[in-house]
């Protein structure tokens, strides 16, 4: 009887202590993530990879970049989903991939104000040697604009949830207004609500 009591007590104590300490570990940044049905790192990586691959192998783009490194600016990727998604992060990954391919060059519209402040400091503050100061009006204008949409359709009946994402990206020639390249990628995810739990 005493032994049984002891065993039960130990069991209860063990159960109580399990999960008492938080565990921290490092994981693979490119591993498939399925914590929940929301937009996650795997979706971001999939979109960025597919878009970059398609763009760099598209015949018109190959011809365009054969002897030149066109200057591109990223307008924005419009979030038309029902989730708060950092679409700037998607465009950052895509523009970084394109830049690293060596085929394109980028101007960053998000930093225009900071650049202006720096140039004003160099030219107007009197603290910078005028011969080394970078003068206004020397920047190169973008020839192409990259922009896109991320939209979703969500269906949820309380037991099953289905999310469909569609990502569209386009490259427009700013001089002619012609869209030189476009691609879209789709992702479908489903989640079944579990029946029993704690």
């Amino acid at each position: 009887m005493k032994k049984t009591l002891m065993a039960v007590s130990l069991g209860v104590a063990a159960l109580t202590l399990v999960g008492c300490s938080n565990q921290i570990s490092y994981g693979d940044a490119t591993a498939v993530e399925t914590t929940d049905i929301g937009f996650g790192s795997t979706d971001l990586q999939k979109i960025a990879q597919e878009m970059t691959d398609d763009m760099l192998t598209f015949p018109a783009i190959v011809a365009l970049t054969a002897n030149d490194r066109p200057v591109v600016y990223v307008e924005r990727i419009k979030n038309k989903t029902t989730e708060h998604i950092d679409t700037e992060s998607i465009s950052d990954t895509i523009s970084t991939n394109l830049l690293r391919s060596g085929k394109f060059r980028f101007v960053d519209m998000g930093r225009v104000e900071a650049v202006r402040q720096q140039l004003e400091f160099q030219n107007d503050s009197g603290m910078v040697d005028p011969t080394s100061a970078i003068s206004f009006g020397k920047q190169i204008g973008a020839q192409y604009m990259l922009y896109g949409n991320l939209s979703s359709i969500v269906k949820d009946n309380g037991k099953k949830k289905d999310v469909y994402y569609k990502f569209t990206l386009r490259l427009m020639d700013l001089q002619t207004g012609i869209i030189e390249w476009a691609d879209e990628t789709e992702i479908r995810k489903q989640e079944h609500r579990k029946k029993f739990g704690l």
């Binding site: 979030n79 029902t82 969500v154 949820d156 029993f196 704690l198």
Partner: protein, 474 residues
Amino acid sequence: MRLLFLVWGLAVAGTLSGCSSTSLRNLFIPYNEQMMPVRAQVAQGQFTQAAATIEPTEPDQHNYVLLQLERGRAWFLAGKYQQSLASFNAADQAIKADDNAAEYRLSAGMNQLGTAITNDNLLRYALPSYERVFLHHYLILNYLALGQYDSALVEVRRANLAQQQALNEHSDELQSVVVQANDQGILADTNAALNGYPDMSGTLGEVQQGFQNGYTFLLSALVYEGAGEYNSAYIDYKKALQLTPHNAFIQGRVWQLAKQLDMQDDQAVFSQTLPVSITQTTAMPSDTQVVLLVEQGLVAAKQQMHLPVPIRSSDGYYGIFNVALPVYPVGDTETEVHLSQEGKAVALSPVAQVFPLAAKQLQQDLPAILLRQAIRTYSKEMMRQQMAEEGGDWGNVLANLYNMATETADTRSWSLLPNRVGVSGLTVNGTSTSLEIKQGINHKTINLSVTRGKINLVWVSVQGNGIATQVFSL
């Protein structure tokens, strides 16, 4: 038979464990009474103090979501948008976690068991659909106030999704309570009992379902229009019009957009159904729109009433029990709000009444609440009889005292929501105007600056002495 005392003691201890004065307070004091001081503060315009009074405690507490909603709205009225956003987001996170949790949870079962001899106030607060829609509604307004338009648009879509999901939702709660009553051999004559319940049909008006909310559709349409998404705006204006077919402002917007988007079939229908003053107008639409949204009063709080319910059990027991139930007071006692722009009276078209939504929800929930309460009252009575047998007079007195004290109705609901909402379009020449707001003896004049070439949303909230305003340019 000491065992019975032991079980009773354990059940009570189990119910109250983990806790705290908060749980004890929830067990014995109805929610509407707890919220009375906060509502009074809001009516006095002491929004910050009201927000600080509300303490949502921890996410696993049964009132956490509700209190975060109350606090979010109080912070919003105070103009503290970051704090308001944080509260609403906390509620949103907790709701998401609940949505993703398993359908049948051990913890929920234990919670139900704990309330077998207490009351519904210790159940986890089940957020009604219309309140979920209002959560997204105030998230939209918060994001607009903070200048985060993309996030506001995300919440617009989530609000739409919530309205749509609510339509498909069929409450199976009643069915499960009926099964539980049958299992225990309890026959409660709920029909006879409900004869004594106040008739709410007068207050329900034309509410079709307990979640439809024209105010949120109107806000969605305005935000879509501000973002240049005219097609989506048109759809939401039409949904708002379905709910408030006589609203002059919405009629005007629907007609303008139908023409702008060249919706010929719709135009043919609207030219028959909309008033001539709308369809024959010669006024050119201005590129600067000033839309006045006025939230008036606070939605009525649920009260507690006692209703006699005849209960018969399969073993031949019969008795009439006094059961505590939540009820909404019938009759609107709110004082009318009068507005004028630079001395000229502004006519508001009603776009939503929150009270009928709340009353409709209660009406839907009532049979399940009544049956659950009947089962509980019966169980308590059986326990009292046993305790009287085993413990004599003391047992009887103890059980009676406990039963009386815990016979408290669940009067929980988001009680800081506005009662009524009206809309009007203003004409502003130049970039500023003044607006006088009058409700009873309370009076306030506000100066507004508007941005040309944009939709300017003038949001006004009037609760007695508490008047809050904000202009959002979309």
